[in-house]
Symmetry: C2
Subunit: 208 residues, 2 copies
Amino acid sequence: MSTKTKILDAAEVLFADKGFNGTSLREITSQAEVNLAAVNYHFGSKKELIKAVMSRYMNELSPRLESALHALCLEEVHPTLVEVFSAFLDPLLHLNSFKDNGTSTFLQLLGRGFTDNQGFLRWFLTTQYPGVFTNFTQAVQKAYPELSKEEMFWRLHFTMGTIVFTMSSSDALIDIAQNDFDRQVDIAGVIKQVIPYVAAGVAAPIIR
Amino acid sequence: MSTKTKILDAAEVLFADKGFNGTSLREITSQAEVNLAAVNYHFGSKKELIKAVMSRYMNELSPRLESALHALCLEEVHPTLVEVFSAFLDPLLHLNSFKDNGTSTFLQLLGRGFTDNQGFLRWFLTTQYPGVFTNFTQAVQKAYPELSKEEMFWRLHFTMGTIVFTMSSSDALIDIAQNDFDRQVDIAGVIKQVIPYVAAGVAAPIIR
DNA sequence: CGTTATTTTAAACAAGCGTTTGAATTAGGG
DNA sequence: CCCTAATTCAAACGCTTGTTTAAAATAACG
């Protein structure tokens, strides 16, 4: 395995677990069993490494996500919100065949990215992968046309918060759930729990 | 004003803005115009300072919140979920008379606390202020008795994610909203937008 | 006032950080 | 094989971090 890949593999796990600020290059390189200087040699800087970690996932996810949302809009004039959010399920779970625990890791990284580093990753994602956002808002627009642009803006951010926050601490939450309720839970189960929640949230009656 | 208060006032703003890990003691003490060593002298360590910042807010909030939820359960046998979440509004907004931008600052701190520091603040809050959680889950239980404990567990965490994530980046979101929609928005407006969302989310039909 | 306790101060500490350097090693193409 | 380019490596760089020290200044009190 190439040095670059070894670094990316080690970095994504540590980033997901302890955040970008909370993970040092020395932790990453010793976990990856490569020299400390390798990060700056292959990626230039820690910030570029963070982008590379996210890009590897986004390049895998975004085409599948865009085509899933696109297909839904073609085959149904009025998709339900549950259908819209369910369109995320397969592309997200595909990350598990792309990498072990890929879905969970990616969603945790996403959560970190929106809170660490005063949100530079939010900028990176919205500018580098705008297609995901536009396809998504279009699908929601078709599912719930009465929603104004402003209300949709807020509800989509609420939804992102729900997903991202839950997933960034999903390991701890799954542990608690397994102990308290004596039930086997995995990341797919959490996603299936969250879909009706966010669908109902976005579909909430408008109070004016 | 006492040195302790000057430190707390400076720390909470910086913590809310840049996170706990992202704020150094030197930033805090120079903002507060006190000596660097004052933090360790008055609080013992940075971690204890973080706890003190949170406690100052929690001690102001939690009795009002608990009594508001308690009162709601007394006066109504079957409160609606909107009523339950609306019970948070007054106690939260009261923080604005406690301190300038108190509501926004506190909610941002809460958001930071659940993602920074591998969630030690989650432990601190749940162990030091358990009454808030039990009162809240009891109120939700009365509003939606069909919900199993496990489903409630997840939906409450989804809700916390929605609130906490939104508020931790509320400044950025409010800026975007003001530019894109040419509307005056403040923290109370965001809270009023989020209440129907989370109420509908928690009330979502159960899929089994 | 004088003495004791409390608080403030400047300076230094050890440790960790991201990054850079230049030499050593490995790989590739003529 | 040889020369060149690419990669790895140990070491150090300069800087920031939280914390500690011991002296100086201030406050409290009999």
